[in-house]
Amino acid sequence: MTAAASSDADLISAHAAGDPHAFPEIVRRHRDRLWAVALRTLRDPEEAADALQEAFISAFRAAGSFRAESQVTTWLHRIVVNACLDRMRRRQTKPTVPLPEAGPGEPVAPRDHMAERETKLVVAAALAELPEEQRAPIVLVDVEGYSVAETAQMLGIAEGTVKSRCARGRAKLAKSLGHLRNRSADANVPVDGVNVQQQRQREAR
């Protein structure tokens, strides 16, 4: 089988049939996107790497029983998200490690203007400040572009809960990113989050 030309579903079948190159090809196709999900969800590159390694091993073992009721990408995301959520639950009492502004976190696109780059870093920092239960659905729906239904499936929660958590998270982000100003929204959003508006004003001086 020419792995590069095959569909994900074909590769899963080939893997189940014993093709040793099929599963690594699936991993190669999707690992960047899954890495982004894990990193933005867990906020710690080392934990993200551990979660992904564990998730891929789990998927490798379970691939034989994969049924094409959902897309391979959704199935893989569900496994990765579950690995991340398990880790988040286990570390609930531990402080999280914020992503640095450079290095293993958000990438620096060389062709971007400085202002755009800063904005992306600021958005990533604001996202990292969200409570974990809101960050995961926002990463999946608003950053990665999954539907509410797919996200609900990945997270194992109701669609309404996905919408509701996204709504709460977006309200906080709108404030911390400086899109909402001087509203009576202060009761609804953190005052100690990343205040992009203030940061931008400071940077402009």
Partner: protein, 254 residues
């Protein structure tokens, strides 16, 4: 919750809370409440500004760039999958070693990975003089890892292998960057040179106990995707001029 939420006592007239407007924006409210609220919100400049702020927030989020997986992480995952592909399910979980890595990492994942890699030792090549015990049993020690100051003396590494089966520790070694008695990359490079093995930053490196003797296992890339090289060194004797300091050297590929 089923997908939309009926809000009893939802205020019909402004001002509305940001939470309520965010719910409207996200489609949380039931159709009846939304139909009631939407035209009023659209007619209110302040509420409309909140919806626009939420739209701008969505635009910010969707513009975040992709994050490529770092090469070292990709190589580590390839190696773990290659180990899994060569292995058989093996219920080997080193709880003590997992507990020892309480800084930096949660232990349960390591247990899974140890199990995942448990059977790959079948392809590892050990120097015959090391042991004739091939039962592949793995044990764990609660002591901290060895250091250069006490090279393999009192301090014992927490990963132990008997015989030729190195598979049970590969998962843990892949997750470590602990040079143990070799101290640093330079010393490791020297030991690799002694075995005519190209020096490179290891995907994982850790002290191990090989038949109760201190050793260091390094897992290196092998020059092609998915392949990796397992090298076991004697920290007391290995060096640029001593080929016999390399206790084992094998390449695994998918």
């Amino acid at each position: 919750m089923s997908g939309s939420e009926r809000r009893h006592g939802t205020p019909i007239d402004p001002p509305w809370s940001v939470d309520l407007l965010a719910d409207l924006h996200a489609g949380v409210l039931d159709a009846e409440t939304e139909a009631l609220l939407r035209p009023r919100v659209e007619a209110d400049p302040e509420a409309r500004a909140v919806l626009e702020a939420l739209d701008a927030t969505l635009a910010d989020l969707s513009s975040l760039p992709p994050i490529p997986m770092p090469r070292d992480v990709a190589a580590r995952i390839d190696a773990a999958l290659a180990a899994e592909a060569h292995g058989r399910p093996a219920p080997v979980v080193s709880l003590n070693s997992a507990r020892q890595r309480k800084y930096k990492r949660a232990g349960w994942g390591a247990g899974v990975l140890v199990a995942a890699a448990a059977a790959v030792g079948v392809v590892a090549v050990a120097i015959p003089s090391m042991s004739n015990n091939t039962d592949g049993a793995m044990s764990s020690f609660p002591q901290p890892s060895a250091s250069r100051e006490v090279p393999g003396a009192e301090a014992k590494p927490d990963l132990a292998v008997r015989g030729e089966n190195f598979g049970p520790v590969i998962g843990d070694v892949l997750k470590a960057q602990n040079y143990g008695p070799l101290d640093n990359q330079d010393t490791l490079d020297g030991c690799l040179k002694g075995g005519n093995i190209p020096a490179s930053k290891p995907l994982g490196v850790s002290p191990i106990q090989l038949d109760d003797r201190p050793a260091v296992m390094a897992i290196l890339t092998a020059g092609r995707p998915g392949a990796f090289r397992i090298v076991v060194l004697d920290p007391n004797t290995c060096g640029p001029d001593n080929p016999s300091g390399v206790l084992a050297d094998s390449v695994m590929s998918p």
